[in-house]
Subunit: 257 residues, 2 copies
DNA sequence: GCAAAAGTGTTTTCATTACACCCATGA
DNA sequence: TCATGGGTGTAATGAAAACACTTTTGC
């Protein structure tokens, strides 16, 4: 809150618990997976309560590390879920995050019971975690089209075919090889390395690395996106209009573009 | 949080305060304004603490109503600011929202000391409220280009020139009248009414109303944005690439597109 | 030599842009 | 009649989409 100068506006500090949840995405076996940990009757996202002396992202990174092992991964705040009844035990608001990891980063989990689940066939989930995953997936699809987040799902060096597969898997749609390569080339966001990768069969592929682009700030950091936007549209998203009334209940904001 | 089945993962409930803040935008005098309330030495956003028995959006709407009077307005969650030091008095995380209101809706404030400030010339602000406004503005600019939020800043009936002015003011750029009208026409998101508005001088203008479009869900609601996206691009945003490293600190996620 | 994946250009289509004049009204 | 804002169409540009064959390697 804010108005420490206007104590009359403030009510007694409320016993609301603050937690973080992390939807950890990776690509394995040609499909998008989410990391889940088992509980008694259902699975759940990596999560924890926020400590009084730590920022939200640190809590999220800790939750992630406890389950996945890795912590040096791309992480972004997603949305804050605060329904009164979302956790029947105690009023708990959850600052949900999502993370993207390369399959080579987290092969061995810190929590051995944790498992990767394909987003297409998720198990029974606790509380509102299904909804959180759905929203994270929506956000990921959106951001994939106008940012370079997709690279976070690949190792440092990758082939253009691998990059294209990332896009195809997440967007769930085939892309034209030549158009894709021309676009990536034109954007100047990859650079060939001196290495090639021998494929199991067929011609060896050139290995590329991701290369940072012009603008001063990092995707995922909002405030510095002062004026100019809309970078890196690799795949056009189908133009469908959305309906919309005049007064709208607040709910997970489509998120941020 | 989640794992009520794994109490060992949980730490004692933390004394963290949960607040909401609302960036209320409107257009007046040909520029975008934000509603602020005065405190001793600085101005601040409408805000309040979240009560244990209310959802976040209800708290936000209450904070809004207390200051602005109106409550039947468009409201969306923006981002959750949770830096440890953002409020020196007590650890307080703030679930920031933004609201769009038509100038005709809030002429008389509930709090008579509240004032509209042009976003271009804001006064001294409390805590991190400047940053919250900056981010809300970024989000608004982004969403304006691919959603129909802009209509929330207009009364029920409006002229196409008024609509165009909304876009020009927020995007801070002139738009071509014919191109703008063709686009709006093509999108089918406005419908002429039987009324006209006599302008102070010159030809009377046709009044239009906003009309909902195809897709099943409401903008601002994320999870139902299942697959298809990218509607209503009224103004193209300049194509600038953003730089991006591999590991990114979490910060106000550009938000959601 | 053949199976398998890598790599490479051109044409069509469509949306965005740029651009200038007539119309209806009140004073 | 004139000042003011409302209203209208067409051509040029540029990005996205569609489309098929050659190359390199291992076996």
């Amino acid at each position: 809150m804010v108005d420490t100068n206007q104590p009359e506006l403030h009510r007694a500090s409320a016993p609301i618990r603050v937690g973080v949840e992390v939807v950890v995405f990776t690509i394995r076996d040609e499909s998008l997976h989410v990391l889940l940990a088992p509980a008694d009757t259902a699975w759940h996202l990596p999560s924890d309560l926020v400590r009084p002396d730590e920022p939200l992202d640190v809590a999220a990174r800790r939750a992630l590390t406890d389950v996945a092992g890795a912590s040096e991964v791309w992480l972004e705040q997603l949305y804050t879920f605060g329904d009164v009844a979302r956790d029947p035990h105690a009023r708990t608001i959850s600052v949900a995050h999502y993370a993207l990891v390369s399959a080579d980063v987290v092969s061995d989990h810190a929590d051995p019971r944790a498992q990767w689940w394909p987003v297409a066939t998720l198990p029974q989930l606790m509380l509102d975690h299904r909804r959180i995953i759905d929203y994270a997936l929506t956000r990921l699809r959106n951001k994939l089209a106008y940012t370079t987040v997709g690279f976070q799902l690949l190792p440092q060096r990758f082939t253009l075919s691998e990059l294209q597969r990332v896009y195809e898997i997440i967007l769930d749609r085939e892309l034209d090889k030549r158009n894709f390569r021309r676009k990536v080339e034109m954007l100047g966001i990859v650079k060939p390395t001196r290495e090639q990768r021998a494929s199991i069969t067929g011609r060896p592929a050139q290995l590329y690395r991701f290369v940072a682009t012009e603008a001063p700030e990092v995707i995922g950091a909002p405030y510095p996106l002062t004026v100019a936007q809309s970078p890196v549209q690799i795949a056009r998203i189908s133009p469908v209009l959305r309906r919309r009334g005049r007064v709208v209940p607040v709910s997970p904001s489509e998120g941020n573009r």
